[in-house]
């Protein structure tokens, strides 16, 4: 498959670009990378990782995609395929760093469960910020910082679902496909993530 010139290439689907790259057309990969590099990078950054680690994981993710180019088959959306790789890369990272020891939250995990320990810490932090006298702009910035902190403090499953939906724009059905989980469980994780964030940011909302 030979893709058309640059201005027409904008209308070519991700899947067609990936297939073209699998057949050796390097310019197709350039287009793909330009389309998705920011989303992938932000997904890692929003995990609470540093810029350097996020870049390292980005590099690993794209290399995995490069190595799997000839095996790619158009069975689902390319973005779903890409974020499956992204998620696996992140899990590998956590395994390496031995940080994947958070408890998974079931539907019975309510706001009163063990996960609240982290949130309570955030609550204390947020309460201090909220009570300090600042202008509106500063308050907004503080709110954004608090949101980032609360997202980073979410349990892994909830954070993953939240970022895939909020940052990458996937539907819950697609997230279930990416994370290989039941759709109801994904929906539950999404609901609890919202609740936690709402509670963590309650000091900023009057």
């Amino acid at each position: 498959m030979i893709l058309p010139t640059e201005h027409i290439r904008e209308s070519v689907t991700d899947e067609a670009l990936m297939l073209a790259y699998g057949k050796g057309q390097t310019s197709a990969f350039d287009s793909l990378y330009q389309r998705h590099k920011k989303v992938v990078f932000r997904f890692f950054v929003k995990q609470g990782l540093s810029q350097a680690i996020a870049e390292e994981l980005c590099h690993d993710t794209w290399l995995k995609l490069i190595n799997a180019r000839e095996k790619y088959q158009q069975q689902a959306l390319f973005r779903t395929y890409l974020f499956t790789i992204v998620r696996n890369t992140l899990i590998d990272h956590y395994k390496k760093k031995s940080t994947l020891n958070e408890k998974s939250y079931t539907n019975n995990d309510t706001d009163n469960d063990a996960g609240n320990g982290e949130i309570n810490v955030q609550d204390d932090f947020s309460a201090k910020i909220a009570t300090s006298p600042v202008c509106e702009q500063q308050q907004k910035e503080q709110l954004h910082v608090a949101l980032s902190l609360n997202i980073a403090a979410l349990p892994t499953e909830q954070r993953e679902v939240f970022l895939l939906k909020q940052e990458s724009g996937f539907s819950l059905e697609q997230i279930a496909q990416i994370t290989a989980q039941h759709q109801e469980k994904v929906k539950s994780s999404w609901r609890y993530a919202l609740k936690r964030l709402r509670k963590g940011l309650q000091h900023y909302v009057k």
Partner: protein, 300 residues
């Protein structure tokens, strides 16, 4: 009671849905504001690293594909070369192609042909023993292969094969006799020899010769060879296979120039019997597979 409970559950669900919707709206709004402000993206160095890795991977694949094609061609060339070499060796072994040995024998054959001189019909062979050596049937093969078109002909091959049968039969006969003489070592080393005593007179042409099969021991044969070492070319005749039937072989002996006499060689007894009035004419010597007969003069 149950209706009240159902109403209560319904209200709770509605409240939680509204709460979730309000939470979602609130978080969405806040998150979008934050995303607009924070447009972080990977560094240019990372971009270059990833894109160059993608290009290198494709180049590497193309190169490996080219190499695999080259490997295919080289293996084919190797197989073809091996086949050629093996076929050449097989052909050479089957003497279809002339080799060095054949060339030497070709020279011998030419010399033999040149030195063959006419023998007078009046020569007396009364006191001579003729030792027929059918030893070297490859020499005329290579000789004739180059001299004429006989090399690949079926007739030629059949003649050679028949000669082999004769020789092997002779060897077998001699070995049997030598075994009877309890001389195993000599039996192994002994060359196939047929001794024929026959009188060649003018009258002999009209009668069957008296043929006697004798065995020579190695010592005797070597003695005869020494005594005939300096013999002239007249002591060597040429003979060739002509035809065969169930009982005998017909051979042509070239005693004089280009005019062979036909003899019968009994298959069972190995008696050589001259066929009277069978002097052949116009037989080209060049096209015949020839063997050598050595005439050994004895003291008797």
């Amino acid at each position: 009671m149950s209706n009240k409970h159902a109403d209560y559950n319904g209200k709770q669900t509605q409240i939680s849905a509204l709460q979730q919707q309000s939470d979602e709206d609130f978080i969405n709004e806040l998150y979008n504001e934050m995303s607009e402000e924070n447009q972080s993206q990977p560094s240019v160095i990372l971009d270059q690293r990833i894109i160059s890795a993608a290009h290198k991977a494709v180049d590497k694949t193309n190169k490996s594909k080219d190499n695999s094609n080259l490997k295919w061609y080289s293996s084919l060339a190797t197989a073809a070369s091996l086949t050629l070499v093996i076929s050449l060796v097989v052909l050479q072994q089957s003497n279809i192609l002339p080799n060095k040995q054949a060339n030497e024998r070709l020279k011998q054959g030419i010399v033999l042909q040149k030195t063959m001189t006419p023998i007078s019909n009046n020569d007396s062979f009364v006191d001579q023993e003729v030792v027929a050596e059918q030893i070297d049937y490859q020499a005329p093969a290579s000789y004739s292969a180059i001299q004429s078109q006989m090399a690949n002909s079926i007739a030629y091959k059949s003649k050679v094969a028949t000669k082999e049968v004769i020789v092997h039969a002779m060897q077998y006969e001699q070995k049997t006799q030598l075994t009877e003489q309890k001389s195993a070592k000599r039996m192994i080393a002994s060359p196939p020899v047929i001794m024929q005593n026959f009188k060649r007179t003018e009258q002999a042409n009209t009668q069957e010769d008296k043929v006697e099969i004798m065995n020579l021991s190695i010592k005797q044969f070597e003695q005869y060879q020494r005594s005939n070492k300096n013999s002239d070319s007249r002591s060597q005749w040429l003979w060739s296979f002509s035809s065969e039937n169930d009982i005998e072989y017909i051979i042509d002996i070239f005693q004089n120039d280009q005019q062979p006499l036909q003899y019968r060689l009994d298959r069972a007894m190995f008696k050589i019997i001259e066929i009277p009035n069978q002097a052949l004419t116009n037989l080209p010597l060049n096209n015949r597979a020839l063997s050598r007969i050595t005439i050994i003069k004895t003291n008797n």
